[in-house]
Amino acid sequence: MQSTEESELSAKQQQFIAALIAGNTITVAAKAVGIAERTAHNWLKQPAFKQVYEAAKQAIFDEELNELRESKKLIREMLVKHISAEVPVSNSSQLQAAKLLLDHYVVAGEMAELNEKMDAIQEKLKALGVEL
């Protein structure tokens, strides 16, 4: 079912958004749905169009983020299976998997440290009355 915002757009506008979020440039997307490039730029300035376009981009981003999270989980599980030799694995692959996990652990440590620094900076800025 179409949302209220989407239904306010014409079929061409919805097709244009679909072409844009598929990764096409404005020029290519406009050509694909048979509109002038100038029309495309005009649509992109309209609030209702922008709202639907942004929502569509966000939905795609969320979906890809979830897929990425799932992939990361699978990769991590596969790494542990290689390290523990739960799957048929050569000594060399087992060692490489162990080193990879260690590398990720170090990176995670660095990220955690960065997160802490960011939190401290945000606290200080907040204390100074700076809105982020």
Partner: protein, 94 residues
């Protein structure tokens, strides 16, 4: 938002095993290279060596050399992993 514990928890689970694999990996790789090197060195001293056809001798030498090359690469990987582990320990991350 991803928190530090989100990042660490899944990795911590596999970390002790990864450390053990790396620790055990170095002596194992050294031993494997020593063995394959020994095999290559003594290949022509086998009692039946002289009776083998030249083609078979060449094949066995080729295989033994390939094993040595493979084990050298494995040792190099094991050393790199071990060095990384030592570095992480020195930095107090483990």
């Amino acid at each position: 938002m991803t928190t530090p514990s989100d990042l660490f928890a899944p990795l911590l689970e596999g970390l002790p095993l990864a450390v053990k694999v790396i620790e055990d990996g170095l002596p194992r790789a050294e031993e494997q290279l020593a063995q394959s090197g020994q095999r290559l060195a003594t290949l022509t001293q086998q009692p039946e060596w002289e009776t083998l056809p030249a083609k078979e001798q060449a094949r066995q030498i080729r295989e033994a050399k390939a094993d040595v090359a493979k084990d050298k690469r494995s040792l190099s990987q094991a050393r790199a992993a071990y060095a990384k582990l030592e570095k992480v320990r020195r930095e107090g991350l483990l």
